[in-house]
């Protein structure tokens, strides 16, 4: 057994492999990881759109269904980015196959880039799917596409990193489910996906402004309509700050091997 011929030591090659593996993992079950969330979002659109279309106008001129579509797209991006990194890591921890990764020379940066990268890919794949299907229900303008891209990627990265933190922390599947059901889901639903926060009473308006999910969705929506509840620059600052904090925490936990190297 002689030395291997094509060795590319360093960050890039191993990271690329782990990214490929994480994308392949969700793609192999894409009916569950991509098609199902698209269907869920379409059902939300049909039900809420049918119930509220004739009663609500947002930003003066935007129909409720058109308003709802970017919210649902962004909600799908965020939830699926979180689900990808958290479920992959907890499954590997519980089934024990994380050992294949733990014995490799990959650094904490490589883990971070690959898991978060795959979470972004899945989030964007689902978001794109939701967008394409829901466009059939209402015409949608794209006022400032760069904002759409920035908030979609930053939001997916934030949720991918948060999913990685949750996956490291959790020791059981139900702890991940609790994280998803009691933190991610309420914060997403209360972030203005289904309504403009300006329609809320003053107290709840203030509470909404403490929710970082609100800024992700509001900034993303700004890219479509050119108007939003707060300035996109404010949203970018909040999302960017949150992203830096969560990424910092995530990298620290990976570096010390929190709950994975005993």
């Amino acid at each position: 057994m002689s030395a291997p011929e094509h060795v590319t030591p360093g960050l890039l090659s191993g990271t690329r492999t782990l990214l490929y593996k994480e994308v392949l993992r969700f793609w192999k079950v894409s009916f569950q990881t991509v098609a199902a969330p698209v269907l869920t979002a379409v059902l939300y659109l049909l039900i809420f759109g049918h119930a509220l279309e004739d009663h609500v106008k947002v930003y003066g001129t935007v129909s409720y269904t058109a308003f709802l579509i970017p919210g649902l797209v962004m909600m799908s991006v965020l939830q699926n980015a979180f689900a990808n990194s958290s479920s992959s890591l907890i499954q590997s921890k519980i089934t024990g196959n994380l050992v294949f990764l733990l014995v490799t020379p990959l650094s904490h940066w490589a883990w971070f880039l690959a898991y978060v990268g795959a979470a972004i890919v899945r989030g964007l794949a689902v978001g794109l799917g939701v967008l394409l299907v829901t466009l059939w229900f209402a015409p949608l303008t794209v006022a400032q596409p760069l904002w759409i891209l920035v908030f979609a990627i930053a939001g997916a990265a934030l949720m991918g990193a948060l999913g990685l933190v949750a996956g490291l922390w959790a020791e059981k599947f139900d702890q991940i489910a609790a994280f998803q059901n009691f933190i991610v889901m309420p914060m997403t639903f209360l972030s203005g996906v289904f309504y403009s926060v300006h329609s809320l009473p003053p107290l709840w308006l203030k509470v909404s402004h403490l929710n970082p999910f609100f800024y992700m969705i509001d900034g993303f929506r700004h890219g479509f309509f050119g108007v939003s509840d707060v300035s996109p620059w404010t949203s970018l600052a909040v999302v960017g700050g949150s992203l830096a904090v969560v990424c910092g925490l995530c990298l620290h936990l990976l570096r010390i091997g929190y709950k994975i190297r005993h």
């Binding site: 057994m1 094509h6 060795v7 690329r16 492999t17 490929y20 089934t95 050992v99 294949f100 190297r261």
Partner: protein, 306 residues
């Protein structure tokens, strides 16, 4: 330079709730030279897997250090891990992938690309060629074990660590595996093996360390350990219970009885006791003590103070 160097490695586990501490390893020191086939033996809970976990980076030592070809497994972990191929004890697998995908991915983690020829060779030598495109879930336990071995070897590491690789596997796999590992060892690879099958360790390992309660209680060449007992064993089969005077010094496995007898006089004494008790031993033979006898002697020795 040693292939693996354990330097005063200690590991203490602290329980979450109480203030209990469990000392799994106490200042374990030993060097494994390049090209050795080294056995690490000990009863369950002796600390073998903990030591290997520290070597592999799955666990962190409380104190001490471990070097692989001079690379510290903590401060220079990337170089250390590139030199190591670990076959874990648990039968773990990733259910999303086929055998070939699992090997290509594992190869990529180590920065090895375009590795198809070596992967094909591994599949061939481990009898996995016809399972290359099967999903991991479809494989039997023995086949999954073979894939674990292939995954450990896919980046051609100079040091191979096998943590009880033949636990619960059939004779065919054992022979295939040992034939292949022995070949790699002859080609210069260092092998560290933990096993409960002492006949395997005796047949394969040049040198053996025995762990008991987290401490090294024996470390020598296999031949020296066997010679050190200077004993012969009287072996026979018997259905009736042994006389009480012999029961305490005997090892009984089903119908097979083994009693240590240092010389002809002691053999005659044992046979005399059996005759007097009316016992009729069958298939009586006198042989040299094997590694199992040495192991039991050492493990039944005085308790080690933690």
């Amino acid at each position: 330079m040693a292939a693996i160097s354990f330097q005063q490695v200690s590991k203490t586990y602290r329980s979450k709730s109480a203030h209990n501490e469990v000392r799994a390893l106490s200042e374990v020191s030993m060097d494994i030279e390049p090209g050795e086939f080294f056995g690490l033996l000990g009863p369950n809970g002796a600390g073998k897997t903990t030591l290997i976990s520290i070597l592999a980076g799955l666990s962190q030592a409380t104190s001490g250090r471990v070097l692989v070809h001079g690379h510290d497994v903590v401060t220079d972990y990337a170089a250390a891990r590139r030199s190591l191929g670990i076959v874990p004890q648990e039968l773990v697998f990733d259910p999303f992938f086929t055998v070939r995908e699992a090997l290509v991915i594992q190869s990529g983690y180590f920065g090895v690309r375009g590795n198809d020829a070596w992967i094909d060779e591994l599949l061939h030598h481990l009898g996995l060629t016809d399972k290359a495109n099967a999903n991991m879930r479809q494989l039997s336990g023995g086949m999954k074990r073979r894939v674990l071995v292939a995954q450990a070897l896919v980046h051609r590491p100079p040091v191979i660590v096998l943590d009880e690789p033949t636990a619960g596997v059939d004779v065919e796999l054992r022979q295939t595996l040992w034939h292949f590992i022995a070949r790699l060892n002859k080609e210069g690879h260092t092998v560290l093996l933990t096993t409960h099958y002492l006949e395997e360790a005796e047949a394969l390992c040049n040198r053996i360390a025995m762990l008991k309660q987290g401490r090294v209680v024996a470390l020598d060449r296999t031949s020296a350990l066997l010679a050190g007992t200077a004993s012969t064993m009287l072996r026979f089969k018997m259905d009736a219970p042994l006389p009480a005077s012999l029961a305490a010094q005997s090892r009984v496995t089903g119908r097979i009885v083994q009693i240590k007898a240092h010389d002809a006089h002691e053999v005659e004494t044992v046979l005399g006791v059996l005759r007097a008790a009316g016992c009729q031993p069958e298939d009586l033979e006198i042989g040299r003590a094997d590694l199992e006898d040495v192991f039991l002697d050492i493990m039944n020795g005085p308790e080690v103070k933690a």
